[in-house]
Amino acid sequence: MLVKDGDSSQNSDEEKGAYDARLEDITQEGNLIRGSSCVRSCTASSAKRFIIYRRDWCGLICQVLIPLILVLFGLWLTSGPSKLTQSPPRHLSTGWYPSKQRILMSTNPVSMAGDGFDVTGAELFANMPNATTAFEVTYVDI
């Protein structure tokens, strides 16, 4: 620690020079970490991590061993024989649903032109495939 004593109040050039030199030395000591390479930093971090793991076995198991085992298990699963089978083409039909499908439909269009050519919900429903046997419609005014 740099402390000026009572004599330094004389402000002589010699003392001022000595004070600056000591201050420069202290500054350089504080920058010893500067200039370390990336490899040294990584090595030091790895060593630190290894020392921590030596004290903390639970952390080693949870953070390294179990994830490693799970990844290897996943790789083993994906390398096994596949059970995928080719599905047949499927024709879109109302018959894929076993019972009547309950649907809601607007009674009238929200935005009506009012020219007599607006199509109502009942007209659209009547033209749906298998309308009478496959659906059970409820009209709502929205």
């Binding site: 309950r102 659209l124 033209n127 495939p129």
Partner: protein
């Protein structure tokens, strides 16, 4: 509530003279097929109304992609 409701239609615009059909389809996607089925139902209905032909049929067949050769090679 059973039986479940898998889809509904809200008609925003439907006009035979302007041939303008804007219909909103609400889907309950807990069934994997509704995204294909329910639009298909209303497409056919719109085409029948627009063409004026009640026997008009619009058939769609969904064909799955083949299995990757990589998976076949493992077997």
């Amino acid at each position: 509530m059973y039986p479940y409701r898998y889809g509904s239609y809200q008609i925003y615009q439907a006009n035979k003279k302007a041939n303008l059909y804007n219909i909103i389809n609400f889907l309950n996607v807990t069934s994997q097929d509704v995204t294909a089925m329910y639009p298909q139902y209303i497409y056919q209905s719109i085409l029948r109304v627009a063409t004026g032909d009640p026997e008009f049929t619009f058939d769609v067949t969904s064909t799955p992609y083949p299995i990757y050769q990589k998976f076949k090679d493992i077997e």
